[in-house]
Symmetry: C2
Subunit: 201 residues, 2 copies
């Protein structure tokens, strides 16, 4: 209860600090929760939504598409508790032995290998990427090869090598996305974005 | 292997973007890993270490003090794999039923209640706080009441309500700390800071 009041006060302060008027009210809620999770008001300028992305992610949640996270920390941030509310299964294959072996064999990152692996398992995937640019580049690569299953992508890979590039490439596709421009991002951001959309349901 | 090379390249880019010369070389490594985890170069100006903090956290790890995280996401970010390397147990009591009941009874947040609960269980605690200002304020409160067990604190609570304040208060104590100034922070930052120190061992 006290925690809930602090959250509300926090959202009011965020609204006094940034201008979210360029976003729809539902988009603004996603951006607000990202700022809440990072303390970083710059996200008000950085977050990007493809057309109708929030409705498409909501639909994917309602259809109980598989939620595939690039790292365990994204899963932990979404929380099993929230996932259970919507009957969702949170998956991450980054530590799966089959993925480790495939990655070693092919000389690829575990992250990109785990994405390809998940795409082979499911049809209907909510990718939530909070760490590895190579994971997002693999999603885009599968899309370009017409091999990507029905998917929506919440993508906030972070860092100075290919993170900004991978997100720029995503903006050029027709994959439904929630993402950001630039090198910022991370698992807390990706998890916050997913949770924000779920809470709109 | 490919992931490792990307990490190295990323660190080189970070060093070209920010000046870490005001930090010791070990402190700089912690800041570098925080920037790596967030993509946010501003941390080069924000991170603070108490005197000799890194050696004290290293000692605490070597003594296998209990690692108490305010939220599950910090645990996931540290990873059980890294913890196992050092024989550490990662704990979080935020979802513990006894804590939920105590918090409800006292009208306190689960976060602050979980800290008090952990302080009652252990002597020798590495607190890793990535979310709740109330958790850090509870650590400080216990310290002021001479009730805090032997502890070191890695504290990056985030947000616009009391996060900056709680960290300012921490700077005024004699608790060994790694923290930052301002509203920024989060579980990815706290986990990155802990991992960075462990990797110095």
């Amino acid at each position: 209860m006290k925690g809930k009041l602090i959250e509300l006060e926090s959202f009011q302060i965020i609204d006094s600090l940034v201008d979210l008027s360029k976003y729809s009210s539902e988009e603004a809620e996603v951006v607000r929760r990202i700022i809440h999770a990072t303390g970083d008001v710059e996200y008000a300028e950085l977050v990007r939504f493809s057309h109708n992305a929030i409705d498409l992610v909501k639909d994917a949640i309602k259809k109980r598409w598989s939620v595939v996270c690039d790292v365990e920390m994204v899963k932990a941030g979404i929380t099993e508790r929230l996932a259970a509310e919507f009957g969702l299964e949170l998956k991450s294959f980054i530590n799966d032995k089959r993925v480790l072996e495939l990655a070693r064999k092919k000389g690829l990152t575990r992250a990109e290998t785990s994405i390809e692996f998940a795409n082979g398992l499911y049809d209907g995937i909510i990718f939530v990427i909070g760490n590895a640019p190579t994971a997002l580049l693999k999603v885009i690569d599968l899309y370009k090869q017409n091999q990507l299953k029905n998917s929506v992508v919440i993508a906030f890979p972070v860092g100075f090598v290919k993170a900004a590039f991978s997100k720029e490439q995503l903006l050029k596709t027709n994959i439904p996305y929630i993402t950001n421009v630039g090198q910022k991002g991370g698992s807390a951001v990706a998890a916050a974005a997913f949770r924000a959309v779920a809470k709109l349901l």
